[in-house]
């Protein structure tokens, strides 16, 4: 195995330009599980852990190398809540938001926040410089993204006018260390409600029908909340797998969305 411990971004980009199939290693909490359990043997690895630039964070730009344990204490309430539910303290100390985006699992707990914030993924290559890809164009399928082979995710770019009222919750088999069966993030701002969900489609999604319905209401009544639950359950596209069934996921998605919309009103 060839191993490059990149000290800055240029070094990592040069290594990727030379060997586009080299695998990027951040916290290792997804990659090493594959190595240990599926006996995946990467031929070349470029480690990003030492790159200071990737660990920078501001309210509008979150470096790919920022760990969950830092995001737990960050200013974006919904992202901090999501971060607190990731794995365990050991996983959060190592795992990064860039790795979550790179893996692009439907259950990635950072992804509903990215969708609700209408954030973009900033990527860079040596040959073509920086691209900023809207989240909808970045996540294209189950564990599939539009990242090119020679590119590295550098940051999540966050619009500066996202609502402050943010609520996250997830459903799983138990409390600690659990992969989401369904996750939901709600934001409430002057322009209305935003509802994003995870684990109910190949990519994170926005519940646009439910958002439209809520945003047409002058006042959010109990009946409107019930309607949100019904519309969300209808518009998600979950599957049945080893973690849950389609029917349960539809139900839980509606319940979570209703609960978080209600919570965001308090």
């Amino acid at each position: 195995m060839e191993f490059v411990a990149a000290h800055d971004l240029d070094e990592a980009l040069a290594a990727k330009a030379e060997q586009p199939d080299a695998e990027l290693l951040a916290g290792g909490t997804d990659l090493m599980v594959e190595v240990n359990l599926v006996h995946h043997r990467p031929k070349q690895v470029v480690s990003l852990r030492r790159i200071g630039e990737l660990r920078e964070v501001s309210s509008t730009r979150i470096g790919a190398g920022v760990t969950w344990s830092r995001l737990e204490r960050g200013d974006h309430r919904g992202l901090a809540e999501a971060a607190r539910t990731v794995g365990s303290p050991q996983i959060r100390a190592a795992g990064t938001i860039g790795g979550n985006v790179g893996t692009a699992s439907p259950a990635g707990d950072g992804l509903p926040w990215i969708a609700a914030a209408d954030a973009a993924i900033e990527v860079r290559s040596k040959a073509r410089g920086t691209r900023v890809v809207p989240w909808r164009d970045f996540f294209v399928g189950v564990k599939r993204t539009s990242l090119e082979r020679d590119e590295i995710i550098t940051a999540v770019v966050v619009p500066d006018d996202i609502p402050e009222a943010q609520e996250f919750a997830k459903v799983g088999a138990r409390n600690a260390m659990v992969i989401s069966t369904v996750s939901c993030l709600v934001m409430r701002g002057d322009d209305g409600f935003r509802i994003a969900l995870g684990s109910v489609a190949p990519t994170p999604i926005r519940a646009t029908a439910a958002e439209g319905m809520l945003n047409a209401e002058a006042k959010i009544t109990e009946a409107a909340l019930d309607e949100v639950a019904r519309v969300v359950s209808e518009e998600v596209r979950p599957i049945t797998d080893h973690r849950s069934t389609e029917a349960y996921r539809r139900h839980a998605a509606g319940v979570l969305a209703r609960r978080l919309v209600e919570r965001s009103l308090r």
Binding site: F3, A5, N36, S88, P89, Q90, I91, A93
Partner: protein, 153 residues
């Protein structure tokens, strides 16, 4: 490839195989079997070590990536002939049965007390939520840390 890691204050060199984990290198190459190997998928915490100041699962650290790092394992806790206060407290409370999970709890718990000397019960539960014990039912382990929190060790 050779990697140089400072383990428990001592510089060590190991010849590591492709994508091997730090856990394997500690146990098999550096003769430090205190760190336990159970799930190899980050779920149980028995392999917890301190890597550059953070408590992490050593089964998920690629050994090659630990080059130049500082690692503390359970063998580095306490001093020769003197147990670490966490070890003392766990003994006193009977928080050890088969002992397989114990090194992970000792390292994760010592890290908690270093960053937060008086954790609340909730903070203790949260900090230890990545460590699984199949014997004790956790009661005695939690009591050990509650005592330590009161004493502020």
């Amino acid at each position: 490839m050779n990697v140089t890691i400072t383990v428990n204050g001592e510089q060590r060199v190991a010849d590591v195989a492709a994508s091997e984990s730090l856990l394997n290198v500690l146990r098999d190459d550096l003769d430090l079997p205190g760190t336990k190997d159970a799930c190899e998928q980050g779920e149980c915490g028995s392999c917890t070590v301190i890597l550059d100041g953070e408590a992490v699962c050593s089964c998920l650290v690629m050994a090659a990536d630990a080059e130049g790092s500082e690692v503390t394992t359970v063998e580095g806790m306490g001093e020769e002939g003197h147990l670490h206060p966490v070890q003392e407290a766990m003994l006193a409370e009977g928080a050890v049965q088969c002992g397989f999970c114990t090194p992970g709890f000792v390292v994760a718990g010592a890290h908690l007390l270093e960053t937060n000397p008086h954790p609340s019960e909730l903070e203790i539960r949260e900090a230890l939520s990545g460590n699984i014990c199949r014997c004790t039912g956790y009661g005695a382990i939690l009591r050990a840390f509650e005592t330590l929190s009161e004493e502020g060790t």
